[in-house]
Symmetry: C2
Subunit: 567 residues, 2 copies
């Protein structure tokens, strides 16, 4: 652990060196308003969808890595020296610049000391809200009074669809408009785009964001990125910061940033706390309302406590105490926390996918429910309901379910060649896990629509998943692989067969029979037993060819084998 | 003209200040091997397709702008000072760093002077080749002997599909492998990807590139980007350049760069010329062959002369001499040159689209043929043949024709709602223009396939374009707008009507009748006259509503009007 340690009491991971080998990330917010933040305050935010609702820009594979982000630039108005409240992007010499980053449950706190000024910047999304807080506490730890300026920096997407923001610049470079009033910057797209609440991917009623500051008088602003940064400069040395004074630029068809300037005088030992709020909605409506209600340090700290309480209550479901401290940290905090994060954003909203691949991949998401079932059963229940409505009536699963666009009963089913064989079979792991955690046997009787048409009980959804695979068996009586089985790269097609899925189907039949017996549906249980016996026969006959353990049969009958050496 | 001037004799634009307000770009190569370069040596290269064959990485909307690119870093081995042969990315103070960029016809020459060293870097793609040259001539203009190191830098894509390179990092970050032998770096994707020459978009047999250097002994190399740049650094201050010595890193699942180091001793007045070749193919096969045949300054200069001769012969087709020098520059060189560039890459391969939107947009490309018809009739002929085979048998046009993937006679036609009304009508501008330039009346009789099935003469292709629009008329007898008319944002749909397309169709009928009379097909000409008279009647009856000039009828019959005030 050269870069940090677990603080189990606080349920935080503490990064003690900012120059980590790669950006380390935490997640803020919820599936509704999500954010990724790195230990150097890089990252992006999105509304409902990392790909279609991305309002903060971030550059994949950038040099320097993981820029831009949510920055506070600090400048000494006397000496002209400047730095950032996170080590990057200014990147002062680490001999003089000391910094620690605490990644907690849905929040990040970066504490830095440089030139006798200590800054503590805290980032989080309050529970149930569509905005994020950036709190900045500045302390003068030196003996002399200090005159400082603070500049916020955030870079807005020109288009909420990240692909268009990056590629369709003949359009996206001409549609942004900034406003400024009473310490609030407004960011919106030009008025020729009409609200279209029915189609989130094309247009949304909320394509307005705001950046508000409370706690001190705003003395200037900039919203034109090129003005703030200046030509042939970088985030390390923005022109406006170097020169110390905002130009009050209003973006109109430009790349847009959000910079609010505050000038602060701090006596020796003096402190000040600023509250920045960045969120979804009209600056004049939601922006004002948020600033009025939430724009005070007291309220912000109360919200942070509520957020911690919420997360900790979920983590406290399970508590291990063993002689192995690292094991305890993992089980009690980090594995559980990461399970919930993965469950919430389904892997898309990260620096790996850049938020662009969004929606819930079927297999992943049903699997992810397993890790969260004990921690947040209510959320898992809702997610499983969503995923069950992502099954089409034939029992197969849609490859991706988009929570922001899903219309159960009205989706077009995937073409036959696009089904994966295993997707729907993961329900036999996740649904019983949820029921075991909650004792909610009634869940099996709940009636839910299929994606395309019709509706049925959860039990019948499960049965259809069995039927889907039983009906798609090949020459050896084993389930066909279709577009993919567990191995997403193995395309066995409509006639090739997968032994892995045969095992999975066998397990599913066993689970189904157990459930039916619990529900006193002996006839159904018997049906499953019979199917299983038949499948066992095929498995026994066709999974050992005398030399290889069979992994799959390709469409042309050739075998993909696994070596049994050393077993 | 604060930033440069036209040098008409050389057919070059000379940029005299490197800090242009935005990156200025030139295009190198051909539709087969294309490259974009900025006046600060930023840009990217691609094989056949900017989106599917992108092997150099480039960041959209970057800060600093337009990075990375094709860099030469120069370092004084005595003082440790370093700079780049283009002003960026090191960006020395312009008081001490003097530089000029010449954008010529398919080449760029950047000449810089700093610290008594003059560098001239010349970038171009030799005619008919799948590699690009970077020539570097270094001169010691000072009185003291100098010891320098030169480092090349280029950043390879991890995946040739640019979208996957930027987004699908769980995959793309693990598939790159570098090799080095005899002064040649090889870049390829891991061996689990089999050649698949039939499907360019999925995989290609040539997913190997090489970077070779001739003219001096290579003393080191680096291919791991993170090693070369170093953590939390940028292109302005790479670790390896600052420390003066390559580490011989071999990328394997890393971000990959191409750095070859050469150490050069220059007496006062001394010169040296290095030849870098970056291209498509196996380092051990194509790389070696290219280096052997092309790896000398003499050969490189001969290729540059041949390239200039090729371009200039096209530009010399038309020569204006007027008292207005700027007009002459435009007509004789720049308008013509830009017509050809636009014609060649169809707008996708630029900093506007980042190369990602590729293939030939139907309307754009047929329009672009007009500007190139006089300059390069043979290429226009081939392009028009391609676009005519992008018409489906009903006469409508496919929205996009992908030259690298197009299979005439085997394409799936677009669904009815995806046709644009005007696309196919631009043929009545471009095809006659080509015939007028060449006198090739026989072109109308040439038999070409339709995109989906069947084949017919060019004349019949044209007729089908008329029929397509005549058959899709609405309640007022005007052609329907379909997905779009000239205004790509105006979706009038299957029943809404477009007066603009009515005018365009009227013109097309007129042109068609003229062609038919030239070909002595009086019956066809008469058919067109009758159709036109009928259309005239509808136009006269429905384009002036007494108050507004009608632009379009929406599907519900409401009118989109244009004001006639001040006419």
């Amino acid at each position: 652990m050269r870069y940090g340690y677990f603080d189990d009491a606080a349920k935080e991971y503490v990064i003690t060196r900012p120059d980590t080998p790669t950006p380390w990330t935490n997640h803020l917010g919820s599936a509704e308003y999500g954010a990724v933040i790195t230990n150097n305050a890089g990252g992006f935010s999105f509304y409902k969808s990392g790909a279609q609702g991305r309002f903060l820009r971030f550059r994949p594979l950038g040099i320097p890595e993981a820029q831009p982000g949510r920055y506070f630039y600090l400048r000494d108005r006397v000496s002209g020296d400047y730095w950032s409240a996170s080590w990057q992007p200014v990147g002062k010499d680490l001999a003089a610049y000391k910094t620690t980053c605490r990644f907690g449950t849905g929040y990040a706190i970066i504490t830095s000391s440089y030139s006798d000024i200590t800054s503590e910047s805290t980032y989080f999304v309050p529970r149930g809200q569509n905005f994020e807080y950036w709190l900045l506490k500045l302390s003068n730890t030196g003996k002399k009074p200090r005159k400082l300026s603070v500049f916020t920096y955030v870079e807005f997407s020109s288009e909420w669809r990240v692909y268009h923001d990056m590629v369709n610049m003949q359009y996206s470079q001409h549609i942004v408009k900034a406003t400024y009033r009473d310490g609030i910057i407004g960011h919106h797209l030009l008025g020729n785009l009409q609200p279209d609440p029915e189609h989130f991917e094309n247009a949304d009623q909320c394509r307005r964001t705001f950046l508000a500051l409370a706690g001190a008088k705003v003395t200037g602003f900039d919203t034109k990125r090129e003005v703030f940064i200046g030509p042939y400069r970088s985030y390390a040395n923005p022109w406006v910061v170097e020169h110390g004074k905002c130009t009050n630029s209003l973006a109109y068809g430009d790349n847009m940033c959000g910079t609010l300037q505050v000038d602060v005088d701090l006596a020796s030992g003096g402190e000040i706390e600023l509250v920045v709020m960045l969120g979804i909605g009209d600056a004049a409506v939601e922006g004002r309302a948020v600033k009025r209600t939430y724009g005070s340090p007291a309220r912000a700290h109360a919200e942070l406590q509520a957020l911690k309480a919420y997360w900790h209550s979920h983590l406290d479901v399970l508590h291990a105490r063993t002689p192995d401290k690292a094991f305890n940290s993992m089980v009690n905090v980090w594995n559980a926390y990461n399970n919930i994060v993965t469950f919430t954003w389904a892997r898309a909203a990260s620096l790996v996918y850049q938020g662009e691949r969004d929606g819930f991949g079927y297999r992943d998401t049903v699997q992810d429910s397993l890790g969260a079932a004990a921690l947040m059963p209510a959320e898992v229940e809702a997610r499983l309901e969503l995923m069950l409505t992502g099954q089409v009536a034939n029992g197969g699963a849609m490859p991706i379910v988009k929570p922001f666009a899903h219309r159960p009963g009205h989706e077009t089913p995937p073409p036959e060649h696009a089904f994966r064989s295993d997707d729907c079979l993961w329900l036999f792991f996740a649904v019983p896990e949820y029921v075991k955690e909650t004792g909610d046997l009634g869940f099996f009787e709940r009636v839910l629509p299929y994606a395309d048409h019709g509706e049925a009980t959860v039990l019948h959804h499960l049965k259809q998943a069995l039927v889907f695979n039983l009906e798609r068996r090949g020459a050896h009586g084993l389930p066909c692989g279709l577009l993919a089985d567990w191995n997403d790269c193995l395309v066995l097609g409509q006639r090739g067969e997968s032994v892995f899925v045969a095992f999975q189907l066998r397990y599913a039949l066993l689970v189904y029979a157990e459930i039916c017996r619990r529900l006193q549906r002996e006839e159904e249980a018997h049906w499953a037993d019979v199917q299983r016996a038949e499948l066992d026969h095929a498995i026994q006959a066709h999974t050992w060819d005398g030399k290889w353990f069979v992994r799959a049969y390709y469409e042309d009958g050739t075998v993909l084998g696994l070596s049994l050496i050393h077993i």
